[in-house]
């Protein structure tokens, strides 16, 4: 009886409380709007008492904002690949 209660309490605890590492991963997903509501609740709960989580969230948000405000653009993966091939070809022809 006592053992069952203990398991139940542990399960509930696991459902609500997350490790620091898990919180960080949820925070990462939240930067791309890919964290679920339940994950956000768990993250917020940890955020209230964990100094390390708070520091990570702050840093992570800062990075997201910097990238958004910079409006940086880059080549798509296939464009990079194409450019790489062309450069390789050109280099070969030159040798």
């Amino acid at each position: 009886m006592y053992g069952k209660k203990l398991v139940l309490i542990k399960m509930k605890k696991n459902l609500l409380f997350i490790s620091c590492e898990e919180a960080k991963l949820i925070c990462d997903r939240a930067q791309y709007n890919e964290a679920t509501l339940w994950e956000k609740i768990k993250l917020n709960l940890r955020y209230t008492w964990c100094r390390i989580t708070r520091a990570y969230v702050k840093k992570n948000k800062k990075l997201t904002e910097a990238i958004k405000s910079s409006n940086v653009q880059c080549l798509k993966q296939n464009e990079r690949q194409e450019l790489h091939e062309q450069l390789k070809h050109q280099l070969k022809n030159q040798d």
């Binding site: 930067q31 791309y32 992570n60 800062k62 910079s70 450019l83 450069l87 280099l91």
Partner: protein, 183 residues
């Protein structure tokens, strides 16, 4: 004694994003920017023997790219090109290569926020180039290109949890680097 070495095999990984971002902010057209970056790389290959190693490889490539951008504006003879040449030219100074000398940088001298944005972009690409290749690729695809997780996983043949671990490591390194260089 030259301090910098040249290695064209690394150009795409190290400089393509930086050069592309530099170009697109000046020509506002993705296809043209792509062509100009390619032209700059090809011109770099051709004049590799002229590289003295006094400036960094990136600075050297940027100087080639700047000429390509000037040539592009010369060719299309656009209003933008004319305006910038008119603004920057003063007849009483330096004869000769006045266009190159004068037009090399005026693109940077616009509004303050544009300069800051461009510098921020430089800082981001500096940090990105310091990441391991896989991390840089995943981070770029997810954060800058804004691709779906599934698309990236399919393209790179990795699992979603793998992707998030890579993103996590990349974000830690990026945040640390940006802390040093920008924040």
């Amino acid at each position: 004694m030259p301090n910098h070495q040249i290695n064209p095999n690394k150009w795409i990984d190290l400089y393509s994003d930086y050069l592309f971002n530099y170009t697109i902010s000046r020509v506002n057209d993705r296809e043209i920017a792509k062509d100009l970056v390619q032209d700059a790389f090809f011109a770099g290959l051709k004049s590799m023997k002229n590289f003295k190693g006094e400036a960094s490889e990136r600075t050297w490539l940027i100087s080639i790219l700047k000429r390509k951008i000037i040539d592009y504006y010369r060719k299309i003879n656009s209003n933008k090109g004319k305006a910038e040449v008119r603004m920057s030219y003063s007849a009483d100074e330096n004869e000769g290569d006045w266009l190159e000398e004068r037009v090399a940088d005026p693109f940077d001298k616009t509004a303050e926020d544009v300069i800051e944005n461009s510098e921020l972009g430089d800082a981001i690409y500096d940090c990105l180039s310091k990441l391991p290749e896989k991390q840089a690729t995943v981070f770029r695809m997810k954060t800058i290109e804004g691709l779906e997780t599934e698309t990236i996983c399919n393209e790179l043949n990795i699992t979603a949890s793998n992707l998030w671990v890579i993103i996590h490591r990349a974000r830690i390194s990026m945040a640390e680097c940006m802390e040093k260089n920008w924040f």
